[in-house]
């Protein structure tokens, strides 16, 4: 079968909507267009019933109760609602929040905003494998700590944090635990009670659902979590998120969650084989390539590799029929390389040389082979024109060299 170009291997950024999800959504644009808050006619009832079904489908995916799902516009809003909502509601109890340096900007920047408002935030470092140190977490907790927010799986390196252990510590200390579950929920098993997590941010578009719809799991028992709303209005979603519900989006999110739950085992098995195939093939044809982050505690569909002596953006230029991301500064507006890779302590040069691969539901063996072979070819070509590669081959230790920085 001929390969269709360009190849999409950026499933951590977003995913295409599964056609089965689109089919489920379509009637809710035209036929069942009612407002779920219209309590006194069949149009409203049909919408409300569909929302209830979706709420259950999403709750089932994470082992929660349907009443614990609050719909939002996406995970950025969910992160904001969880963190700011707890901060305001529990202000009298304390003003200290614990997070990690490798969190998504939706969490980091929300915490930074709270710091301006007088809250204190601890940003835990990560170890070389990308995981936080549990002793450091334990030591960071004070009587003023009201929230621990640590992401489930990282969006760049796919590393899965020790959630159950974090949840146990939080529970023991009586601190609420929020996790940004965007990359993990729907991909690998995730149960709010087993992990003892109190708040979970989710979004549909990372699990083959539509963009513009997300959710926040808010625990109702042991403990009952209260949140101050960000948006005031009609008191929808138990008063935590006012605004008319995006019914077609919610229906799509629900269907996407159901498909992920039913197909998780087979998807994981298939993706793990493809990811390892990509990794093996790259390692067979290239030397001095380094995996960023733990391979053991990692999403099955993620691979993040640094190709030493080659700069990431020039690599992307060479594989312009493949959609992937790089941690290189040149691919960002800030001219700063990935803060996640820098936090691993591997050195900025390796951050500049990194490529993130995200495999997904429609990735094929042929695509993986094509990408691996093309990359090997481009890396080899670029190394031949890399002064760093030449110096390394001459036996120069690049880390001890004096560079002329202007």
């Amino acid at each position: 079968m001929a390969i269709k170009l360009p190849i999409y291997l950026d499933y951590h950024a977003t995913t295409p909507v599964d056609p089965r999800v689109v089919d489920a959504m379509l009637p809710f644009f035209t036929e069942h267009f009612g407002n779920a808050a219209s309590r006194n006619h069949p149009f409203g009832w049909a919408a409300e019933e569909a929302v209830d079904t979706a709420r259950k489908q999403i709750a089932d995916l994470i082992g929660a109760n349907a009443k614990e799902i609050v719909f939002t516009s996406g995970a950025t809003e969910s992160d904001n609602l969880a963190i700011k909502g707890v901060a305001e509601m529990y202000r009298e109890k304390g003003n200290h929040i614990i997070t990690a340096v490798t969190e998504h900007k939706a969490v980091i920047d929300t915490c930074k905003r709270l710091e301006k408002d007088g809250y204190r935030v601890t940003y835990l470092p990560v170890q070389k494998d990308g995981l936080i140190n549990l002793d450091e977490l334990r030591n960071a907790i004070t009587p003023k700590t009201i929230l621990i927010t640590i992401m489930a799986a990282n969006n760049e390196i796919g590393v899965i944090q020790p959630l159950a252990a974090i949840g146990a510590i939080a529970k023991e200390k009586g601190v609420l635990f929020h996790t940004d579950g965007v990359q993990m929920v729907g991909k690998v098993p995730f149960n709010v009670n087993e992990l003892k997590v109190d708040l979970v941010s989710m979004t549909a578009h990372k699990i083959y659902g539509p963009k513009g719809i997300g959710a926040l799991y808010v625990r109702r028992r042991n403990p009952r979590v209260l949140l101050a709303p960000l948006i005031d209005g009609g008191g929808h979603e138990r008063g935590m998120r006012s605004g008319t519900l995006n019914v077609p989006g919610i229906v799509g999110f629900g269907k996407a969650a159901e498909l992920c739950r039913l197909e998780m085992a087979s998807d994981t098995d298939r993706l793990l084989k493809l990811r390892d195939r990509l990794n093996d093939r790259l390692h067979k044809s290239l030397d001095e390539i380094y995996i960023n982050g733990s391979m053991e505690h990692r999403l099955p569909h993620n691979l993040n590799i640094s190709f030493a002596y080659v700069e990431g953006e020039s690599l992307l230029m060479g594989i312009n029929d493949v959609a992937v991301s790089s941690g290189s500064a040149c691919t960002s507006a800030s001219l700063e390389p990935s803060y996640v890779l820098k936090a691993l302590g591997a050195g900025d040069d390796l951050a500049h040389s990194s490529i993130r691969f995200g495999l997904g539901r429609w990735t094929t063996e042929e695509e993986v082979d094509y990408v691996a072979d093309k990359l090997a070819q481009v890396v080899t070509r670029l190394r031949e024109m890399s002064p760093l590669y030449e110096l390394a081959k001459e036996g120069v230790d690049l880390s001890t060299m004096q560079w002329q920085v202007n």
Binding site: E311, S314, C330, P387, E390, W403, Q404, N406
Partner: protein, 141 residues
């Protein structure tokens, strides 16, 4: 981000990739940038000692497509120029020729730095070479 056709052409068909012998007194080598900044350029010129004209120029670059294109273009321009003419090449000339966007201007600055560093190395070598000749002419022992 869209690249200009000239950047793509230099990236796909870089001119004058390679290395000249570093020890040759007529070869000047410039190595600028740093790996942690994401750009390192090595640029070399070989000068004809009698005419003062650059006979050959080579580069190797670790960096984005625009950095590769800037150094490739620089080597093209250097060949056939005298040392003084080479020093007159400005980063803005490179920006114009390659239609570099504002975020890529640092690539052209680095290329200008590489040219200056290579020529300064050549001049230093010539100075040292001249001194060496002097030493030989007036043996102290």
């Amino acid at each position: 981000m869209a690249y200009s056709n000239k950047v793509i052409d230099h990236y796909e068909n870089p001119r004058n990739v390679g290395s000249l012998p570093k020890e040759d007194p007529n070869v000047g080598t410039g190595l600028v940038g740093a790996p942690e900044c994401g750009d390192v350029m090595k640029l070399q010129v070989k000068v004809n000692p009698t005419t003062g004209v650059i006979d050959d120029a080579k580069f190797k670059t670790f960096g984005c497509g625009s950095a590769i294109a800037s150094s490739s273009l620089a080597t093209e321009w250097l060949k056939g120029k005298t040392v003084d003419e080479a020093l007159a090449i400005k980063n803005t000339d490179i920006v114009t020729e390659l239609s570099l966007p504002p975020v890529k201007i640092h690539c052209s600055v680095l290329a200008e730095d590489a040219i200056k560093a290579a020529i300064s190395d050549y001049k230093k070598k010539q100075g040292t070479a001249a001194k060496n000749v002097d030493t030989h002419a007036q043996p102290t022992a």
